[in-house]
Each structure stands twice: as C-alpha cells, then as structure tokens.
C-alpha cells in the first residue's frame, strides 16, 4: 500500500498552505516526510534547500528548520508555559537568559505574555495550543508543520489559533503547512491542497482581497510604488505571484505605451 503516490508539491517561502482530505488520505504522512519523521521509498523531499534523504543531522534539521504544532499540543505537563517554549532551544541556544527572553517574547507573540508561569493544566485548550505555536517558533524555523492544530479545540479557540497562524504568516512571512478538517481555514490561507488516496487531487490558490487591491494599484502605478527597496513585493505576496504581477505589469506597460503611441 502506498501512503503517498505521485505527489509533486512545491511550497514557496511565505506560503500558508492548508492540506485537507478524508482520514487516511496521506495528509499526516506528507507532514511526516516534510518534517523528516518519515523517508519516502521513492522520490525526493527538499526543505529549505536540504535534501532530507541526505541530511547528516536530522535532529538539527528538526530543531532548526521545522516547527511542529500537534493536535493535542503535547506540552510537557510539569513545565510552565515559558519552560515549554524553551524546550526546543535546549542545545540550540546556550544562554539560559537568552532562551528565557526569547520564550517570553514568543509567548507575547502568541498572546500569552501574561501567563508565562502557568502550567499546561492551568491553561485552556486554546491557550495550550498558543503555547504550542510559540514553542514551534522557538528556533525561528523556516517551516511550521501543524497537524490538525484546531482538532481538539472548540470553534472559537480554533479560529483564534488559525488567526494566530495567519498573523505569523502575514507579519513574519513564516511558511506554514496546516493539516486540517476545518473548512474555515479557507478564510486565512492562500492555498488549499486536497488529497485523496495518497494523491493531491486539487491545488487551489485563493486570492487575497488585499492582494487584489495591490494588484490593481500595481497596474495603475506600474508597480513601482509598492515594490520594496529590494525590488520585491511585501513578504505575504508569493514570488510566483510577484512573477505573475511583473508579467502583468509588463503587459500593462506595453499596452499603455501602445495607447500613447496611438
């Protein structure tokens, strides 16, 4: 039996991708592969430029390159929220003070800056998952893998967690893959992969209304006004989109020149 079959997927930096599909379709296996928890029998997995089959230090890859958010948060019950966020930094950040400061900052980002000393048992489900998200960010990973992060939460808490992940993606440009059954994820994601029987059956890109505005603006101003100093669009716009936009700009520009000539 093949858990994944013929999967060809490219996720660009800064994307927020939702992976949906029925149970047993291979969603978690896909995350396992991306997180170097499983090896494919055929094919190749590259994350942040690294071929996972040739990794010399899988532990370092997991610690530094990916951050995991689990359905059941998997916090260590005897450690405080702050200490839980520090856990991935053990062995990565030598200074205890630095670890504490970073963990405190990440708890702030996750909206739990006022509960650093709380034990997981003293937090609500949503708060625990916020700690788990902060923990996933501990070593500033290139990729966050979230396996049903809202699966054990009530609707409101689930939406808050999705919003937190969306904010991270939007504000910090963190690449995120979310395995979910939550259809409200469509509100925050730019791309939804649908899987069935180990195959990706659809790869649907959604258009952000803001992106539409920017695109309109780019058309009207020939793109120059919204480009950063590095000539790129802001982080939450994808490179692929950027290329598309540039092509569009060239076309618009050419059309305008043609109009002027006429």
């Amino acid at each position: 039996m093949r858990a994944l079959d013929g999967v060809n997927l490219k996720v660009l930096p800064g994307e927020l991708v939702a992976v949906m599909g029925p149970s047993g379709c291979g969603k978690s296996t896909l995350l396992n592969m991306l997180g170097a928890l499983d090896q494919p029998t055929e094919g190749e997995v590259r994350v942040a430029g690294e071929n996972l089959a040739k990794l010399k230090n899988v532990d370092a890859f997991r610690a530094q390159t990916v951050g995991f958010v689990f359905q059941l948060h998997n916090l260590l019950p005897t450690l405080t929220a702050l200490e839980n966020v520090e856990v991935p930094m053990q062995g990565q950040v030598s200074s205890h003070r630095e670890r504490q400061e970073r963990a405190a900052h990440l708890l702030e980002v996750a909206g739990l800056g006022d509960r650093p000393d709380a034990l997981p048992g003293q937090l609500s489900g949503g708060q625990r998952q916020r700690v788990a998200v902060a923990r996933a960010l501990a070593n500033d990973p290139a990729l966050i893998l979230a396996d049903e992060p809202t699966g054990s939460l009530d609707r409101q808490s689930g939406e808050e967690i999705l919003q937190l992940l969306a904010d991270l993606n939007r504000n910090q440009g963190t690449t995120i893959l979310i395995v979910t059954h939550n259809h409200r994820v469509a509100q925050i994601t730019q791309r939804i992969l649908r899987m069935h029987d180990g195959r990706i059956v659809s790869d649907h890109r959604l258009t952000d209304p803001l992106e539409e505005d920017l695109r309109t603006l780019a058309y009207s101003r020939l793109g120059q006004a919204i480009l950063g100093d590095n000539g790129l669009l802001p982080g939450y716009l994808l490179r692929e989109e950027e290329a598309t936009l540039r092509r569009l700009l060239v076309k618009v520009s050419a059309a305008e020149g043609q109009t002027r000539e006429e």
Binding site: T29, R62, Q64, F70, N74, L76, G91
Partner: protein, 302 residues
C-alpha cells in the same frame, strides 16, 4: 524450629565414650500464650559445660528447678528483672539472672533446669541437642563420625559445622534465603515495571522531544538521570523504612525472640546497586523502540 528429639539414654551412651570429656544435653521448646506470643525455653543441666555459653549480665545461673534465667530481650520485653517471678503454664519461677549471647532467639527466651523443662514441656527423658566436649580436640572428627555411626537417630557435627549442618539451621537459612530472593525478585520486578511504565507513559513526551529536535542521547540521559535520582531517593527512603520496620518488628513481643535489629553496609549497598542497575536498564531498552517516539509524536492519524 522443629525442636528435634533424642532419647536421653543416648546422652549416657555418648558420655561413656572414652574420648568424650563431658556432654551437655539440652531441650528446646517454646510457649505461646496471650501474654507471651513466643517464649523459647532452653532446658539445661545447671552444672553442664554448655552453660558457660550464656554470659550472665546480672544475677547468676540457675541452681534449682524453680529458678529461671532470662534472656536480655525477654527481660526487656516482659519488663522483668532479677528477683521477679515468671509464670509459665501456671508454674512460677524465680528469675535469678539475665543472660546475653548475641543470638536473638536465645536472648528472647529463658533457661530452665533440664528436668524442669522436660516436665513443663511434657517431653520426659528427651533432649533436642547434646553438646559434646572431647578430651583431645584432634579427635573431634573421629568422635563425630563414631556418634553418627553408632547413633543413627542423631546427627553429629563439629561446632564449626553446626550452623551449616543442623537441619533446623539449614532450613532456617534456606527459608530466609528464599524470602530474601523472593523479596528481591518481587521488588526488582516492581521497580522495573514502574520504570518501564513510566517510560511507556512518556512515549508522547519522548516523541514530542524527538520531533522538537532533541537527540536520542539527550533524552536518554534525561530519563536515566531522572530514574537514577528517583531510585536513589527510593533506595534511601526504602532503607530507612526497612530499618524502621525492622526495629519495630524486633521490639514486637511476637518476633523479638527470632529477630534482632542488626544491619550492615553490605545490605544497603546490595539493595541500592540492584535498584540503580534496574533504573538504568529499563529506559535504555524502551528508548530504543522506534515506535515509542513515533507513537508519541501524535503523527499516527493521516
């Protein structure tokens, strides 16, 4: 204790052997009553050589049938002293001395005259042991062999072999050895099971740590350190509780005739070593099971 029995005529026959200097017949028995959960009675001829085995710490040895010498522990347990009266089966005996031997069961009982002990225990003309002194120590083995040859109902052994060769002693040793082994086995299984379960219960935690990039060695080190600390604490607490329990038992009237509260460093070292070995061994084996951290990572469902 089986309280073996020999016909007293054997004593005379052994005494008549040319190599024998003296014989000291002894009858052992015990009394169990409401006031006295267990009282060991040693019946000895007041003039026999074996009496010197008992060191008088107060008073004197028995001279008459209505006198008794108490062991130190018995005197303490029953709050009796020289000059007091001890009542056994409605027979009153005057306490004339307190003895110590360093042997718990001897110090937990008393010594009566042999004839009186035979009467009291209703075992007329029978003895449990016969202590034989030979004229020439070099002939001891030959005398032993001769006794074993001529008196098949008796089993003779040299003093140095006594503890090993006597059925009662051998049985007691075997019993205590078996109890010790069982205690060690059960304790070891319980400790191993506790630690094993603690690792299995922590598979999710182990899996989480692996997924967060912790090296196996680091996790193993963490768990082993925890186990060692836990077991060291357990060993200390267990030893203290063991000592406390032993002291309590040794002071209980029902048991102080057999048990004296003594221990040595070897016992503690043995217990702590076993605990530490068990504590190291279990987590190491469990951690090597790949499925443990896979299961713990919560990645099972698809």
């Amino acid at each position: 204790m089986s309280m073996s029995s020999l016909d007293e005529r054997t004593v005379s026959l052994i005494r008549s052997m040319p190599q024998v200097a003296s014989v000291s017949p002894m009858l052992l028995g015990f009394i169990v009553s409401g006031d006295m959960p267990f009282f060991l009675i040693s019946g000895l001829d007041p003039n026999c050589a074996a009496m010197t085995h008992y060191k008088i710490v107060e008073g004197r040895y028995i001279l008459r049938p209505n006198e008794v010498v108490l062991g130190k522990t018995a005197a303490k347990t029953y709050k009796l002293d020289v000059g007091d009266t001890l009542t056994l089966f409605e027979n009153r005996y005057k306490i004339v001395g307190i003895i110590e031997t360093g042997v718990a069961w001897e110090e937990g009982g008393g010594i009566l005259a042999l004839r009186e002990a035979q009467r009291l225990l209703n075992r007329p003309r029978s003895v449990s042991y016969i202590f034989v002194d030979v004229k020439n120590p070099a002939q001891a083995a030959a005398v032993r062999d001769a006794i074993n040859r001529h008196f098949p109902e008796a089993r003779a052994s040299l003093s140095s072999e006594f503890a090993q060769s006597t059925d009662d002693m051998a049985n007691a040793r075997a019993m205590f050895g078996a109890i010790g082994f069982l205690a060690l086995l059960v304790g070891g299984i319980v400790v191993a099971n506790t630690l094993l379960m603690s690792v299995y219960e922590r598979t999710r935690e182990i899996g989480t740590l692996r997924a967060l990039g912790w090296r196996k060695r680091r996790i193993l080190s963490q768990i082993v350190q925890e186990s060692l600390l836990l077991c060291a604490l357990s060993a200390v607490i267990g030893s203290l509780m063991g000592v406390l329990l032993l002291v309590l038992i040794a002071h209980a009237p029902v048991a102080n005739a057999f048990i004296s509260a003594r221990w040595n460093a070897g016992i503690f070292a043995q217990a702590i070593s076993v605990t530490l070995i068990v504590s190291y061994n279990r987590p190491d084996q469990s951690l090597r099971q790949r499925r443990a951290w896979r299961a713990g990572a919560g990645w099972r469902k698809s």
